[in-house]
Amino acid sequence: MRLDLKKKEERFFIVLMIISALLIMSFLGFILGTILYKGLPALNLDMITKLPGGGFYLGKEGGVLNAIAGSLMITVGSVIISAVFSVPLVMYINFYLRKGSFFSNAIRFSFDILFGVPSIVYGAFGFALMVYLGLKASLLGGIISVSLLIMPVMMRSFDEVAKLLPHNLPEALLSLGSTKYEMIKVLLRQLMPALITAVLLSVGRGIGDAATVLFTSGYTDNIPTALGQPAATLPLSIFFQLGSPVEEVQNRAYASAVILTVIILVLSFISRYFSAKYSKNKI
């Protein structure tokens, strides 16, 4: 059968499209595969249960527990801070302000821009702020800077869903005589899966970022016990170990990369689960 020129053209481009879609998938496989291939052989239980030992940076025993703990502390702290600000903010622009009001549009716009601001700028800003406040590179400094970094992520992702909540629910609550604050409490329960997804997304962003904490949280071989102490982070520990000329240390960098990748994968699966659950309950 003879095909028209336009049909041929369409076929040609469909093939091109499938090729590029497959290319992107294979990039994902390639990246994960490379990390796992290089990192898995060097991965052992010591890596995640031990602090760096005496000759750790020369290839002797020890693990990166300091970095894992530091990353977790910074991420948990900054997620809490950023939730304290972004949850009321999202509630305010969606349920207090008129739909499409100038104020709410301005806030959304500014957060869209903040979302694009690179992490190194947040790091530099956090550093300047700490110099101003007289703080040293510490857990606290890291928490402040990372919370600035992830606030736009959390706010935008939560807002996306809050925007879609049907307006008859708030109206029903108000008509039953609840105050706006009581209404917000009920709505928050309704929006909980979306909030969890937003939190997980920002945990992923926070735990994986290196440029922000480079200036602000310092680096240490111990687990910080106070907010004023420096804290190691997983991405930085990968970065520093990779810079070492010793092969064992480099291999440990790959193993640490596997740990970070697994954390990200798990987070992503959990957040998929919650967003699937949410779309099932959608009114």
Partner: protein, 298 residues
């Protein structure tokens, strides 16, 4: 009891208003803080001189930003040249041609790709792209390349901006009204002709906005570029030369910057430049995207 409820309600409203106002000020505060920090070096040399000077010798007080600005530009342009065609084709495919099953398979993958931390991209780049360029690609063109180069940075960045591009583009294509697509199809156009003559044409300003958004993402990327670009403060002559993008410069010198006069200020100027460029381009492209969304909704 009734009074208490009302008081709480008022208190919560005021607090929320306060947070909202604060959040609006955040951009201004970041910009002003960086500006104050950068002022000493701007006062000493003029801003124009700093941007056009290519000599970077902090020990002598020479702070020329030209190599870094050019490196950032080169790397970002290579990244978008590689990423745009692939992302555009994939976004069209997922929006128009792919079945629901395929889409459900792809969406998590793209989410995952955007969730992978920059440092992992950096590790991947040093393990695969850098040796590939040094051993296989570069010998065909130049005498010697370490592999840590403009091209390595561009390729790594291109993979990093693909997820952003695809998600913005899909959103964009989705907002094209169904009526005009159906009208085109009912006149006998193939799906591809409809894509070419209707969807792409209708969303052209949006595609430009998406590209600007992706380029500014590439501009600010730090750790991954730091790991694959080679970090030499020279103006790269070919894509196989090492380069030193602005974010990498800031990140690499954080330790020593307090010991030299004006060094910290110069690095803060670097951060300020990045901030201003990105706020400007992001602002324009976001406004364009809002505008398109609004126009199609009516």
């Amino acid at each position: 009891m009734k009074q208490f409820r009302i008081i709480i309600n008022k208190f919560v409203r005021q607090t929320m208003l306060g947070i909202a106002v604060l959040s609006l000020l955040l951009l201004v505060v970041i910009g002003l803080t960086l500006l104050v920090k950068a002022l000493p070096v701007i006062k000493e040399h003029s801003l124009w001189a700093l941007l056009t000077d290519s000599s970077w010798k902090p020990f002598k007080g020479d702070f020329g930003f030209l190599p870094f600005v050019l490196s950032t530009l080169h790397v970002s342009i290579i990244a978008i040249i590689i990423a745009l065609p692939v992302s555009l084709l994939t976004a069209i495919y997922l929006n128009t041609f792919a079945s629901k099953t395929i889409r459900h398979f792809f969406e998590p993958a793209i989410d995952l790709l955007s969730g992978i931390p920059p440092v992992i991209y950096g590790v991947w780049g040093t393990l695969t792209i850098v040796p590939f360029i040094a051993d296989t690609l570069a010998p065909h063109f130049v005498d010697y390349s370490s592999g840590y180069s403009v091209l390595a940075g561009g390729i790594t960045l291109s993979v990093m901006i693909i997820p952003l591009l695809i998600s913005v583009l899909i959103e964009l294509f989705r907002s094209v009204p169904d009526e005009i697509i159906h009208a085109s199809l009912s006149l006998g156009a193939t799906k591809w002709q409809t894509v070419k003559k209707v969807i792409l044409r209708k969303s052209f300003p949006g595609i430009i906005a998406a590209v600007v958004l992706a380029v500014s993402r590439a501009f600010g990327e730090t750790i991954a570029v730091l790991m694959v670009c080679g970090n030499m403060a020279i103006i790269p002559k070919s894509i196989f030369d090492a380069c030193y993008p602005l974010p990498a410069l800031i990140a690499n010198n954080y330790g020593e910057m307090l010991s030299m006069p004006n060094y910290e200020s110069a690095l803060m100027l670097g951060a300020l430049l990045l901030f201003m460029i990105i706020v400007f381009f992001n602002g324009i492209s976001r406004l364009t995207l809002y505008h398109i969304e609004k126009r199609f909704q009516m």
